[in-house]
């Protein structure tokens, strides 16, 4: 009995030591992972500083003309931080970006349109900028404001326009449907219902989630999408890097 009791005690100690050992290993691995991500974070911050200060020369030779239209998607909770949005736009003006579409699903930015335009001295609405203004000077920018209804809801409205036309023509036969409902006609109908913005070349997402949050789907066929992290953590260097990387991309468009 004594021997059995002793063996049971030994076994129990061995299990406890084993569990403790596993716990320590788990903590160490977790610490290593935390350290890795911390190091990555520091490296990103340093790189961003180097880019912002102009020490990394290659970012100075930025061919900004390749970026004809930029979209910024901001998660709605973060869209309330209007000063941060204005700061972001100021950076974009400094970089030389000419046309920007600001999007958030709930339309917070749309509601703050006047405030944003007022704080930026050299910004006009995209809709008001005519053809003659397309060749803007370096420090001028056009802004388009979009929200969730400009996406799927707009497609439904555009589809309704086409359906009215179809009914008027007394549609019959598959050929009629195929003639009226085409991609070109849909694009035209979208412009008719007020969605006039072009397809962005680059879409930057600010927020915790890596999705475009319902940005007008019809317009992002070949748009480069980059997740930038939270708006409150935005850095000029990261912004410049994302735009620089875009200018170096070559698209095949499936061919």
């Amino acid at each position: 009995m004594d021997f059995r009791d002793t063996m049971q005690k030994v076994y129990s100690w061995a299990c406890q030591i084993g569990n403790l050992g596993l716990w320590i290993i788990w903590l160490l691995i977790h610490f290593a992972v935390d350290l890795w991500y911390f190091a990555l974070h520091i490296a990103c911050a340093i790189e961003s500083y180097l880019i912002s200060s102009g020490i990394l020369k290659r970012y100075k030779a930025l061919d900004i003309d390749k970026l004809r239209y930029l979209a910024i998607v901001i998660e709605s909770e973060e869209a309330y931080h209007i000063p941060a949005v204005i700061q972001l736009l100021q950076w974009l003006v400094d970089i030389g970006v000419k046309h920007v579409c600001l999007y958030d699903a709930e339309g917070i930015l749309k509601k703050s349109k006047e405030s944003i335009l007022g704080k930026l001295n050299n910004a006009t609405l995209f809709e008001e900028a005519g053809e003659s203004n397309l060749l803007l000077d370096h420090k001028h920018i056009t802004l388009e404001f979009a929200s969730f209804p400009d996406g799927k809801e707009a497609v439904a409205k555009a589809a309704n326009l086409l359906f009215m036309k179809y009914v008027k023509l007394g549609g019959s036969g598959k050929i009629q449907e195929e003639k009226i409902f085409t991609e070109a006609h849909m694009s035209e109908a979208l412009r008719a219902v007020g969605c006039k913005g072009p397809e962005p070349d680059l879409l930057l997402v600010y927020g915790p989630v890596r999705c475009h949050l319902g940005f007008p789907a019809w317009r992002i066929r070949y748009t480069e999408i980059v997740h930038m992290g939270r708006l409150k953590s935005m850095r000029y260097g990261s912004l410049l890097k994302a735009i620089y990387k875009f200018t170096m991309v070559r698209q095949n468009y499936g061919k």
Binding site: I29, E106, V155, V209, R221, Y253, K255
Partner: protein, 324 residues
């Protein structure tokens, strides 16, 4: 930021977890996936308090509705073999529907000094691996972007090879699909496919339509814009037949007519694009509004279990808000 990144990676010993039913499905009792073997049980281990607060509201679980009406929480036990999850992966939240843009086959071949067809053949192997992993880990739907409408502009020889590869693949794997209870669906403008391939596709879709274990949706000759346009064409025919008034056309009606309506879960939870390109290239435009986007640096033929695991872990770590 660090704490939000790391907690989901590792699983602490000796902590059991329970699963709750999917919040949006009411009055249904849930059970485990049917592919879980009942022998040799193993408890899921989870670190207490590791859940990201933002994910709590939007967790989804790999549970399937049973016939009983009352919902209840259960302690879940899993087998020690398939679908045992890989190290660091949690049972919840797992995506129900994963979409993949299989990019990089030609670059892969070019880097190795091989002909382009070798890249595509290697890509097929990667696809098989991914299907196996999805079945193993309980992902219900996988949509793959096999051939876009823009790809028709590629060299004729290449297009012909791709069509023959598709044909061979479908013929060789049909028995396997039936045996593994995999449902095959094809979306895209199949009228542009060679006649024999078109018939083969119709046949395999019909043959496997009652399979429920897993669904593989292959997008061939597909364009996201065209998907929307064809939805409008179908609605127009219903308008012509007097089934719908023109003014009744709404977003939900359009959604019902999209080609991805062939599945119970038409909206991907996770989109993976390989080869480092950062765009969706006219793929499922309408459906990807709240889909997590993961851009992998691997070329498609190199995309294997490790890379898929990385994408899934990344998905599990992110806070998903669905725009709220």
């Amino acid at each position: 930021m660090i704490s939000s990144l790391s907690p989901q990676l590792l699983i602490k010993p000796n902590t059991a977890t329970t699963l709750s039913p999917i919040p949006h499905v009411q009055n249904q009792r849930f059970k485990l996936a049917s592919h879980v073997c009942p022998s040799e049980l193993l408890s899921i281990r989870k670190r207490p308090g590791s859940a990201c607060a933002a994910t709590t509201q939007h967790r989804r679980y790999l549970l399937f509705p049973a016939e009983e009406e009352e919902e209840e929480e259960r302690e879940v036990k899993f087998t020690s073999d398939a679908p045992a999850l890989a190290e660091g992966l949690q049972r919840e939240p797992m995506p129900r529907h994963v979409a993949v843009i299989m990019d990089g086959n030609r670059r892969w071949a070019h880097l190795r000094g091989l002909p382009v067809r070798s890249g595509y053949e290697a890509g097929v192997k990667s696809l098989k691996t991914l299907v196996e992993l999805c079945c193993k880990w309980g992902i219900r739907v996988l949509t793959v972007f096999a051939f876009s409408s823009d790809n028709w502009f590629r060299p004729e020889v290449e297009v012909e090879f791709l069509m023959s590869l598709l044909e061979t693949g479908v013929k060789e794997e049909t028995e396997s699909f039936i045996r593994e209870r995999i449902r095959i669906s094809v979306i895209g403008d199949t009228s542009k496919l060679p006649k024999c391939l078109e018939e083969l596709v119709i046949n395999v879709v019909e043959t496997t339509k009652n399979n429920t274990r897993f669904q593989l949706i292959v997008a061939v000759s597909y364009s996201g814009q065209y998907d929307l346009v064809q939805a409008c064409q179908r609605i127009a025919m219903k308008v012509k037949d007097g089934l719908i008034e023109p003014n009744d056309v709404s977003e939900s009606l359009i959604e019902q007519e999209l080609e991805t309506n062939c599945t119970e879960f038409p909206y991907p939870d996770l989109l993976i694009r390989t080869s480092g390109e950062l765009r969706i290239s006219n793929f499922m435009l309408w459906q990807l509004a709240y889909t997590e986007l993961f851009f992998s640096q691997s070329l498609w033929p190199d995309f294997g279990e490790a890379e898929f695991l990385e994408a899934l872990k990344s998905f599990q770590q992110r806070c998903r808000h669905y725009g709220k």
